[in-house]
């Protein structure tokens, strides 16, 4: 395949051989195929054809941006030592793609302990196309609908239960306030503040990276919605107790107490014991007794 595209690009422009030529040709070819399919399909089969076109578009994007690690057919790439260079994506479902690409974790900027969150590389149409392509490879969790993850209609009693679910299942890694925490060997559990409800739902559903899976069979969609409602309410709640210092527990609070608290006590101690200003010798001594 690669050889083939290289040949084409060589023919197209023998003198200006560029690195992007091969993928570009591939995209154009695949887009053209998809476009042709879309145009030439009968109008009555509109939905099916647009699905096929979306999958084709997703496949084209996949070939360019994902296949170097996940394999050209998403079958995964194994290293010489038998580890995964990029895992197989067959059966991970659309929800996993929407989470990984939608939060900018994929495509990874560089290999490392953990894929970092960053600005998404693809727009929502492209993410939908990639998700459709991966979903077409094998059955897996689909992208949740808004009424599944939108916690705005949740009652107070449900939200309290959501808090219990959160403290039981999530706080071990994500901290009591959802501020995130460290894991061994450079990994970390990210903060949950500012993460969209859909992405929180998808993370629970698919278990990205080291995070365990919380499938709908055990932690039902309603349970997940309750957790999200609890998190979002917490996020918007004012800090009645004063400065939160990041809500990361004793480390920041202890540092504040040691540096600011004990520091100002030391400063006061220095002021109390320091000498006051004195008159020079020239003044008569009789005045001070």
């Amino acid at each position: 395949m690669r050889l083939f595209t290289r040949k084409i690009s060589a023919r197209l422009s023998a003198r200006r051989r560029s690195r992007v030529a091969a993928p570009a040709v591939l995209i154009v070819a695949l887009l053209a195929t998809g476009g042709l399919v879309a145009v030439l399909s009968p109008a009555s089969a509109d939905k099916a054809s647009s699905d096929a076109a979306t999958i084709a578009k997703g496949r084209a994007l996949f070939a360019v941006s994902c296949s170097s690690c996940h394999g050209s057919n998403a079958e995964g790439v194994t290293t010489e030592r038998g580890n995964n260079y990029g895992p197989s994506l067959i059966g991970v479902g659309a929800a996993a793609v929407d989470f990984q690409v939608g939060t900018g974790r994929m495509p990874m900027a560089q290999p490392g302990a953990q894929a970092m969150q960053k600005a998404p590389v693809f727009n929502s149409d492209e993410i939908a196309a990639l998700a459709a392509y991966v979903a077409s490879l094998g059955p897996g969790p689909s992208i949740p609908t808004a009424d599944q993850y939108d916690g705005s209609g949740v009652t107070n009693a449900q939200m309290v239960q959501g808090g219990e679910f959160f403290r039981t299942n999530c706080t071990a890694c994500h901290n009591f306030a959802g501020s995130g925490g460290a894991l061994p060997k450079g990994k970390y559990a990210p903060a949950l503040k500012g993460v969209s409800s859909k992405h929180i739902f998808e993370a629970m559903l698919t278990g990205p990276q080291q995070m365990p899976v919380f499938s709908n069979g055990v932690l039902s969609p309603l349970d997940k919605k309750e957790i999200i409602a609890y998190l979002k309410t917490n996020e918007s709640a004012p800090s009645y107790g004063g400065f939160t210092l990041g809500s990361i527990g004793p480390v920041s609070e202890g540092m504040f107490a040691w540096l600011v608290g004990i520091g100002s006590l030391v400063g006061a101690g220095i002021w109390i014991t320091s000498g006051t200003s004195r008159k020079k010798k020239t003044t008569t001594k009789g005045a001070d007794a």
Binding site: A172, F214, D223
Partner: protein
């Protein structure tokens, strides 16, 4: 006396002569009545400010609702900031005023106080020892061993009531530490809502924080079977985590081959170091981390300790399926869960 001489010799041998105290110089407030008046006014102003802030504290208490205007000042509540700030400043102003008073206006003599030996004079010590020896001789405790020994016996026997009373504080733990509420056929259910679990509901990489079904069971009157303190005590030992891994990744001991269901294993949630609840599980490495002291257990390898201070592997609960296809326990834990204790069987320290 000889000690004093030695001290003097030591001083005389100093290479640099003792410079003595620096010359006393007066403060501006000691010699200048204008400055003195000014300092007086400063101190009085600080004390006055303290009164003002104390009154403002009361005003804030009555005028601002606790919890009202929750984010008016840097995201903090108006009442919280006003109460704390005013009361703090009232105290601080008294403190600063008092220090300023002593620095500027109170008497300004340098006072020297020499250190003295801590021991009493030799004659006092001799007198005390002589009195003690006279007492011992007059009581005849050395000459009358019967009296001496019976007194020692009486003192020792007085300890017995103390032991009896302390023993009465509570029953002995018996073998409670070695057992939990888990029993053959008890369902493993999700914590919080008590949802029953089927193996097909769990995916590879799944973690479920689980409890024995009896914590959610009710009797014929609709009351919980276990509640209150008994529930908390039972929960502290019986909490488990249910994880699913790829069956090929699991290295089960020969006698544990049938303890799981298609890669689903059940482990105690209580760390074997000092008993923290642990559920920080990395699904790709199969490592379970304790947040308290970073003990790490490999759940794919029978709960083996691979890092940290824990002395024992994490106890595993053998599970199977009941007639309806729900996950149930095969038995209680086969060893005590949680931290080690004196009477514990020491054979399986791994």
């Amino acid at each position: 006396m000889s000690e004093d001489n030695h001290e003097l010799e030591h001083v005389a041998a100093e290479p640099i002569a003792d410079p003595g105290l620096p010359e006393h110089l007066p403060r501006p407030t000691d010699v200048d009545p204008v400055m003195e008046k000014r300092a007086e006014r400063q101190v009085a102003t600080l004390f006055g400010l303290s009164s003002v802030f104390a009154i403002l504290t009361c005003v804030a208490y009555f005028s601002l609702n606790i919890g009202g205007h929750p984010s008016v000042f840097l995201g903090m509540g108006a009442s919280t900031v006003a109460l704390g700030g005013c009361l703090g400043l009232a105290l601080l102003a008294i403190g600063i005023g008092a220090i300023q008073w002593s620095r500027k206006l109170m008497s300004d003599h340098e006072i020297v106080e020499y250190r003295h030996p801590a021991a009493s004079p030799q004659e006092d010590r001799d007198e005390a020892i002589a009195a003690l020896e006279v007492g011992i001789a007059e009581s005849g405790i050395g000459r009358r061993p019967l009296v001496r020994n019976s007194l020692l016996g009486a003192m020792a026997t007085l300890g017995l009531p103390a032991i009896v009373f302390l023993r009465d504080l509570g029953p002995l733990p018996d073998n409670k530490l070695a057992h939990t509420v888990w029993a053959k056929g008890m369902q493993v259910v999700q914590d919080v809502d008590g949802a029953k679990i089927k193996p097909e509901d769990m995916e590879i990489g799944q973690l479920v924080n689980a409890e024995p079904e009896i914590f959610f069971a009710t009797n014929s009157e609709g009351q919980p079977v276990i509640e209150g303190t008994a529930l908390l005590q039972a929960k502290a030992k019986a909490a488990v985590i249910l994880v699913r891994m790829h069956p090929d990744d699991i290295k089960a001991l020969p006698d544990r081959r049938n303890w799981g269901i298609d890669g689903i294993l059940c482990y105690s949630k209580i760390c074997t170091h000092v008993g923290c609840p642990i559920s920080l599980w990395e699904q790709q490495t199969h490592h379970l981390l304790c947040p308290c002291h970073q003990s790490t257990f490999d759940l794919a390898d029978n709960g083996k300790v691979i890092f940290g201070p824990a002395g024992r592997h994490l106890p595993q609960l053998p599970i199977t399926l009941d007639a309806d296809g729900y996950i149930v326990a095969q038995s209680d834990f086969t060893e005590p869960v949680g931290p080690s204790y004196w009477e514990r069987d020491r054979s399986n320290l791994t």
